[in-house]
């Protein structure tokens, strides 16, 4: 349980931060697409015997950059390219899994989260990824923020918007993969949207939105994990439902304002 709480907090800090920009840059569909595409990456790990986390990270970064490339070239619209990458990655995953029978228990864990099987290495990994993600975003915060506000003004200010977009996609992919252990592939996109959306209801500036989003994410995770422990319910679902209820309460409070 302690390991789950620690990794859960790391994951919520990461997701909370990333969620702010997923919401502002209107990337929730890309987030969902990359999360589901991760399944293909995980399956490649099963099939080849390489650590699925590593293959998932490499694969999701490749998909994210692939989506960016395809939509930039302009021939196919972005939402179509996301849809195609997402579905075909899942299909690849399903095929590879069927070819490597005997891993169905692990598979369930990847799809729905598996907080009971967190290893010491994964605890450390979550810490490093948190430092990496938070560090990078904070280092380039003003560039990411201005690019999210208006890409042309950002370019005129000397920012390489393309580099920033690629950086964000890489950070997003890594964050998604690390969150899979806690909430599973199916629900990970919820953590990328709900905390940020909740924070946006009240935030007047971006720093506040980041703090609020991380706060909501951490709260949802801790409460969700405790509830799942107490009532023996699925932790991933418990966390996401808690986050949803928090969002609805915030929405209600905002409407009353």
């Amino acid at each position: 349980m302690q390991k789950a709480l620690f990794v859960g907090i790391m994951v919520s800090l990461i997701s909370g931060l990333i969620s702010v920009f997923v919401v502002l840059r209107k990337m929730s569909f890309i987030g969902a697409g990359i999360s589901h595409a991760a399944f293909g990456g995980v399956a490649i790990g099963f099939f080849t015997g390489i650590n699925p986390t590593i293959t998932a990270i490499i694969y999701t970064i490749a998909v994210a950059l692939g989506i960016e490339l395809v939509s930039r070239k302009g021939k196919i619209s972005e939402d179509v390219s996301i849809g195609i990458f997402f579905a075909s990655s899942m299909a690849l995953g399903i095929v590879l899994v069927s070819l490597s029978r005997g891993y169905t228990v692990d598979l369930f864990g990847y799809l729905f989260g598996n907080i009971l099987a967190i290893t010491k290495e994964e605890v450390l990994l979550s810490l490093f990824v948190a430092i990496f993600v938070i560090g990078l975003i904070m280092l380039f915060l003003k560039e990411i923020f201005l690019t999210s506000y208006n890409e042309e003004i950002a370019r005129v200010s000397g920012i390489s918007v393309r580099a920033i977009n690629i950086l964000f996609l890489i950070v997003l992919s890594v964050s998604i993969v690390i969150s899979i252990k806690i909430v599973g592939i199916i629900l990970v996109s919820a953590l990328l949207v709900i905390p940020g959306a909740t924070a946006q209801l009240f935030a007047k500036n971006v720093y506040f939105m980041i703090v609020a989003s991380c706060g909501f994410a951490v709260f949802s995770t801790i409460l969700g994990l405790l509830l799942s422990y107490e009532f023996d319910i699925a932790p991933g679902g418990s966390i996401v439902l808690t986050a949803t209820v928090l969002f609805l309460i915030a929405l209600f409070l905002k409407k009353r304002q």
Binding site: N150, I153, G158, M209
Partner: protein, 258 residues
């Protein structure tokens, strides 16, 4: 050295020619108005000058350097795009918007400091919106947003100010004040100003030079020369009615408001 030098510029978009035979020579510190109908290529020309769009053929030089090179410095231009596509619930206050104008000066891997904040407030008060600085940008009126955005464009203390239809959201009286402000900036800081507008009437009183653009330049030079039926017909098409504003009209408006 010329601030902006354009030679035989042609721009094609999706196979279609949008700008043809564009030649322009602008000295530093000049205020030029680019007028013409919507769809005539004004925005495209501005974007090409800024380095946001590559020419199909022909050359553009900003103080002798190509636009892509200038773009990387982040300090040359202050830009006000035509329609600011900003979602109203974007978590940003007026002061944050203006601070973004300083990012080009601050540079990568560095944080804005006290000096940047002071400059931001200086330009906010110059534009008359200093009291609004902690208000969420989305809550401002159209005219207030324009003024705050202009403060943002100026905050980086650019050498060239590029304004694309800055008059949207500002009423007629406000426009007069706005032009006065620009002239003041021009005199005080020696900035070069490029303004695209479809409002040919008011602009001619304030600019040093005017260029009439509809796919190509139909006229370039002294502003008063543009207020000519031949030029306007070529620019806007047939059935052009010339209505002249005079001093009397302006005074009437002011009296009626008081």
């Amino acid at each position: 050295m010329k601030a902006i030098e354009i030679n035989n510029l042609i721009i094609k978009l999706n196979g279609r020619e949008v700008l043809k035979n564009i030649n322009l020579s602008l000295n530093e510190g000049q205020f030029i108005g680019i007028v013409g109908p919507n769809g005539g290529g004004k925005t495209t020309l501005l974007r090409a000058i800024l380095g946001l769009m590559k020419p199909t053929s022909g050359g553009i030089r900003i103080f002798g350097r190509p636009p892509e090179e200038v773009l990387k410095t982040g300090c040359m231009f202050g830009y006000l795009p035509q329609i600011l596509k900003v979602k109203p619930d974007f978590p940003i206050r007026v002061i944050d918007v203006v601070m973004m104008g300083r990012y080009g000066r601050v540079g990568i891997l560095r944080w804005p400091g006290e000096k940047d904040r002071k400059k931001a407030i200086e330009y906010l008060s110059m534009m008359g919106v200093e009291e609004l600085r902690n208000v969420p940008f989305g809550q401002l009126s159209g005219g207030q947003q324009q003024r705050a955005s202009i403060a943002r464009a100026l905050a980086g203390e650019p050498k060239i100010l590029v304004l694309d239809e800055p008059n949207t959201g500002i009423d007629v009286i406000g426009q007069g004040d706005f032009y006065h402000l620009l002239k003041g900036l021009q005199k005080r800081f020696g900035i070069t100003i490029l303004m695209a507008s479809h409002d040919i009437g008011t602009i001619t009183a304030y600019v040093d030079e005017i260029a009439c653009l509809n796919y190509t330049f139909h006229y370039q030079g002294n502003p008063l020369g543009a207020l000519n039926e031949n030029v306007l017909t070529e620019l806007y098409g047939k059935n052009v009615d010339l209505l002249l504003h005079t001093d009397i009209c302006d005074k009437c408006e002011r009296l009626r408001r008081v």
